[in-house]
Symmetry: C2
Subunit: 121 residues, 2 copies
DNA sequence: GTAACTGTATTAATACGGTTAGTACAGTTA
DNA sequence: TAACTGTACTAACCGTATTAATACAGTTAC
């Protein structure tokens, strides 16, 4: 469910939080689904429990999960808003990158060809 | 020519190097054009000369500039390859972001609308 | 109730990297 | 010669990621 890219220079807790964000947006992590416990994920990944704790706290701060003391951490019940938000942000990213490509001389037909490659002719 | 975004968490020397990369790709920085001296840019931006030196070294390592001891740092003479390379990378970025958007449920018509917004109907 | 889980909080120590500071040396130019 | 230029080097400071070691409280199953 989670993994660590040691080549990635971003902090471990950010990697984990980002993965949760993406997997919720993709529907891989489903509403109410329990996450691994702090200690089990800690031993599984071979990192300190404090780092997991910080990742889980960040997930909860972003509204991705809810933390219930004594029980565990769970994916939030309403992932719909998160998915829509993530999709809107991705649209904005695409728009920004398209504008950058245009500035570099990329033509509309260049872009349309890229779209065809992704979506099929 | 260069500026520092203190809110940007990326290192100053990376910010400067990225700006050089972008401005060369956009044709703002022209082949052979001299860059500010290490010490003058240092005082202008209010940061340490060592940081500028590191940024300039990184630029040279990327082939963006050439450093001539006693004279200064200059934009490389052949910026064409750099521009083409930058444009190819930007195409790859757009393709990647498009694929991500598709995974999130973005339809082809959604994307085509974005393209129209950027390039005009 | 006890044991074994769960999350939470706190403090200290370590490690790494970015940045600053200061100095010194060598090439270039007027 | 003087005033630029880039380069090299060391030491120190600081913020942050990470580890380490505890301690406390809620939950669950026996």
């Amino acid at each position: 469910m989670f993994f660590i890219n040691s080549r990635d220079k971003t902090p471990i807790y950010e990697q984990l939080c980002r993965q949760a964000r993406e997997q919720i947006a993709l529907g891989v992590l489903k509403p109410g689904e329990p996450l691994p416990s702090v200690r089990s994920l800690s031993t599984e990944l071979g990192i300190n429990p404090n780092t997991i704790q910080r990742a889980y706290r960040m997930m909860e701060d972003e509204g991705l999960t809810v933390s219930i003391p004594g029980k565990g951490n769970f994916v939030t019940e309403d992932t719909d808003a998160l998915q829509q938000d993530h999709r809107a942000k991705q649209c904005e990213t695409v728009r920004r990158e398209l504008a950058a490509l245009k500035k570099l001389g990329g033509t509309k037909s260049d872009v349309l060809q890229l779209v065809d490659e992704v979506y099929g002719g």
